[in-house]
Structures are given as C-alpha cells and as structure tokens.
C-alpha cells in the first residue's frame, strides 16, 4: 500500500456544496427566464413552513429555548470565575488561608488588600482581608497562585447589592462553619460543566 492516501491532505472537499457561480444572464430572454424561475420557486413558502414547524416544535415538542431566569437557572461551569470563596479545612474547620500574601502580590488590578499578624502560637493569622470588587477584573490569578486552594472562584454571580462592600470582607467570602459539609472543592482548571453532556451538538458538517 502506497502512502498516497495518507499524503492527500485535501480531506474536507468531498461534501462541499459549490455555489452556482455561473455568469449572470446577458440578454433579455435569459434574464426573463431567470426571473421566471425565481418567481416560481417556492422559497417564500419554505420560509412559512420553517416558522410554522418551529412553532410546532416550541409548543408541542418541548423545544422552547427560553430559560425563565430568576425561576430556573442553568448550571454554570466549575471554571466560571464569579465572586471569590474562602475555603476552610475540612478536618479542623479553620480557614485555609496561611496569610502568605501571594494573592495580594499577583493581583493585577491591585484590588486585594490583606493584613496579617502572629497569633499566640506564632502562626500567621489573617487580621484584614478585603477584595475591592469595583476594581476586580475576575482574572483568576489569585485563585491560581494560592498554594493552599484557600481562595477560589465560587459560582455566586448574582451580585446585586446595596454596596459592593457587602461581598468583599473575609467573613463574607468564607464558608460558613455550619455549612462546612456543603463546601465545594475547586475541581481544577480542566473541569467541565455538570451539564456538558446536554450541550454536545453535532458539528455543522454532520448536518
């Protein structure tokens, strides 16, 4: 067997539908023929049929597109970068943040500000931690750089509030201690959305 078959890189051309790029009509008779053939083509009725079919699909086959947003929500991807969460250690319940300050250093919009001190056991303790969400661009560097997976991006995207400060304190972002069993671990940068299977579609070539 030769290699010609594998050297043929022209793989996508077989099923292309070529446009009819013939020359436009020149004399009156062929123009008239073109007008006539276009006039009797049932394209307008194809349009009517398509809209009627879609109405049938929507009403009787449950293919309505609309998501009634405040009442139903689509699942968001674990990679989504919304308001940050501060996670706790599952065993002790203590917050994971070790006060290293890397997130403050890497933040490209300078919106994280933190202050630390030594507690009585000479361990670093976070005394102040705020994120200015008026400046945060949700780039995700802070979550990426965090050595302890302490700061991650959560899924809280509905951040309408009377003031931005309502989200930005350490205690606001920290997992409540009584919800520790519900704490979601960050699934990693390659994680797919929970409804990824439903979103799989045929590629256009397969239609």
């Amino acid at each position: 067997m030769g290699l010609e078959k594998f050297k043929d890189r022209n793989v996508g051309t077989q099923n292309y539908i070529k446009l009819d790029l013939t020359h436009p009509p020149k004399d009156g008779w062929s123009k008239f023929k073109q007008v006539l053939s276009r006039a009797v083509q049932p394209e307008l009725f194809v349009g009517l049929w398509v809209t009627l079919r879609e109405m049938n699909n929507a009403l009787f086959r449950g293919k309505m597109h609309t998501t009634q947003y405040p009442l139903e929500k689509l699942p968001i991807s674990p990679r989504y970068r919304a308001i940050h969460d501060m996670l706790r250690l599952l065993e002790s319940g203590h917050y994971r943040c070790i006060g290293c300050g890397l997130c403050e250093k890497i933040c490209i919009s300078n919106c994280i500000s933190m202050d630390t001190r030594y507690d009585e056991n000479q361990r670093k303790e976070v005394s102040e931690y705020t994120i200015n969400f008026g400046r945060c661009i949700f780039c995700g560097y802070c979550a990426e750089v965090c050595p302890e997976l302490a700061i991650v991006h959560g899924g809280r995207y509905e951040n309408a509030s009377e003031q931005r400060a309502s989200f930005s304190l350490f205690e606001d972002m920290l997992t409540p201690i009584d919800n520790l069993n519900l704490q979601q671990e960050y699934q990693g940068f390659g994680a797919i959305s929970p409804n990824a299977d439903d979103n799989i579609k045929k590629t256009p070539l397969a239609y």
Partner: protein
C-alpha cells in the same frame, strides 16, 4: 341594494353599532399586540409575554397603563397642531373604514325581537368608501413625519407617500375584477354573490394574491413596513411620538389589519355565509382570525424589501398583473 334606508336601520341602532365597533375593535387591536408578540415568540421558540397575569394576558392592561400615564412629549420645533392631530387621523380613518364593512350575518336579538343588520351603514359604494378611508389614512403618517422636525420622520413620511399611494393603485385594480363579476360596490352584495358556496377566490386567485400583497403594503405590515423600518430609519414617522399618541398609531394600524382581513374574507373568501356545518358568524370570525394570524406568520418568516424593490414590485409586476387580470376577466365575462 338600493340607496333607500331600510326600515330597520334606526339612528339609535347605528349609534349603538358605532360605539360597539369602536369599543370592540380597539379592544381587539390592543389584544392583537399581545397575540402578535405571542405568535412571533412561539415561531422563534420563545415564550413571549409571560409574567403579567396568567400566560401574560394582562400584559395588555400593563401596556395600556404605561401608554396612558406616559409623559406626552411634543418636540420643540415640531408643528404642534399637526403633530397632535396626526395620530387621530390614523385611528379615526381606520375606525371610519370599519363602518361600511359587514362582519356578521344579519340577526334578530332574541326576546326583544329587534332585527339587526350587522353593518353600521350599508352604503352602496361600500368598497370605494373603505378604500377611500384607508387611503385618507395615509395623511396620519405623512403629516406626523413632516410635523415632527426629525429627519427620520421626514424619510418615514416620504416613504408613506410613495408606498401608500402606489399600492392604492394595486388595491383598486385587484378589487376591480371581483367588482366587475358581482356588479356592485356593496359588501353585502359581495357576500350574497358567494352564498352558493363557491368563493370568489376560485374565480379570481390572482386578484386575491394581489389584494393581499397590496393590503400588507397599505397596512404597513412586515414585508413592506418601510415607514418605520427600525434598522434603517429609527422608527420612521413615529420616531418622536410617545405615550398615547404613539398608541393611537398602533390602534389604527391594528384596526386596519382587521379591516383588510374583513375585506379579504367578504370579497374573496365567502364572507359570512354558512359553510358545511359551520354557522356564518363562526366562519367569518375564523377567516378574519386566520388572516390576522397570516400577517403575523409572514412577519416571522419573511424579510423586508428595500424601497426600490417595493416600487419595482408595485409598478412593474403587480400593476401589470392586475390590469391583465381585469382585461381577462372582462373578456371572459363578454364571452360568457
């Protein structure tokens, strides 16, 4: 039908019918906006108005409250009198046109035994009257666009002039062939002509299609809604309007849609004659409803045409076809 007033036609009856037409048609015209939004939404697989009332039915009331309570803005350099009067022209002519179209078969009110001819006034030039009124309606958009000192309005009114005037010709010529066959201008005679069950659309399919196309152009419906084409001229002749004045334009437009539906039903589609097991009043309601639905359906399916295409279609295609149709109808009638 002779011009003498029938004994049953009393002044009180006419006034009651006029008030009924005004109330019912404006309610239906308002309801039509809801239907239009719903149907268009379904055809695009959306839900449409959903939250005000069950299935969004009270959206109509919400819109009404909004339109009534909105501030009435008259632009600084507008001609205030004409600017204020123009919406009334559109709404009034649309309702006046409905005076001469019959909607239901004549009936007798039970218990009180009052015979009611279901037409406000059976003028013997009914078709001319209705067409004339709809043609007079063009003064609404025309004056509105010119009075508001806005360039989009000016373009809109220029388009009004070319579109409505041109398609008036096609409407008249396409209705001429049925008029020749029936030999009368009264809508009641048209209805009675088709009482044997054969609709006029069987004899005059070309005239029917031409009338529909021209009717869409005259009611400013989608393939031809160049007067307020959002993508090109913001909102055309209604650019500067707001609140109730804007609402009157739309009540007029929807009333005109109903009028076109009634004319198409009575002249071409058998009117309010009984058909098979269905009563006449049901048949005409079904026909008008389908005609209304078809307007929305077309709006969902078909794109706009350009103004030059509109003119091309009118003068080079539709008008010759209409004239040929009239000539052939005349020849056949002379031969037969």
């Amino acid at each position: 039908m002779d011009a003498t007033i029938l004994p049953e036609v009393t002044a009180v009856g006419v006034i009651i019918k006029a008030v009924l037409i005004l109330a019912v048609i404006s309610a239906i015209a308002g309801f039509g906006t809801y239907i239009e939004r719903k149907v268009l939404a379904f055809m695009q697989r959306r839900l449409g108005p959903q939250h005000v009332g069950p299935y969004g039915l009270l959206q109509l009331a919400a819109d009404g409250i909004k339109l009534f309570t909105k501030e009435d803005i008259i632009p600084q350099h507008a001609n205030k009198i004409i600017f204020s009067v123009a919406p009334a022209i559109t709404a009034a002519t649309a309702f006046i046109a409905l005076a001469a179209v019959p909607v239901f078969p004549d009936f007798t009110i039970p218990f009180v035994d009052v015979f009611v001819p279901s037409i406000a006034s059976d003028v013997n030039v009914g078709i001319l009257f209705v067409l004339g009124m709809m043609a007079a309606g063009l003064y609404g958009p025309l004056l509105a666009g010119m009075a508001q000192s806005n360039k989009w309005g000016i373009i809109g009114s220029a388009r009004t002039a070319i579109q409505f005037l041109s398609y008036e010709v096609v409407t008249g010529l396409s209705l001429l062939a049925p008029i020749m066959m029936v030999g009368s201008l009264s809508f009641v005679d048209f209805n009675d002509y088709q009482s044997d069950g054969t609709w006029l659309v069987v004899y005059q399919p070309v005239a029917f299609v031409l009338f529909l196309i021209a009717g869409y152009a005259e009611t400013n419906r989608t393939p031809f809604d160049l007067l307020e084409h959002e993508a090109e001229i913001v909102s055309g002749y209604v650019t500067e309007y707001s609140g109730m004045r804007w609402g009157m334009f739309f009540i007029g437009e929807y009333a005109n849609m109903i009028t076109i539906g009634v004319i198409a039903s009575v002249v071409f589609l058998g009117g309010y004659n009984d058909w098979w097991i269905f009563a006449g009043w049901f048949m005409i309601l079904a026909k008008i409803a389908f005609s209304f639905f078809f307007m929305l359906w077309v709006r969902a399916a078909w794109p706009h045409v350009r103004p030059d295409q509109l003119m091309w279609l009118c003068w080079k295609v539709l008008m010759p076809l209409a004239v040929i149709n009239v000539v052939i109808t005349g020849l056949v009638m002379m031969a037969g």
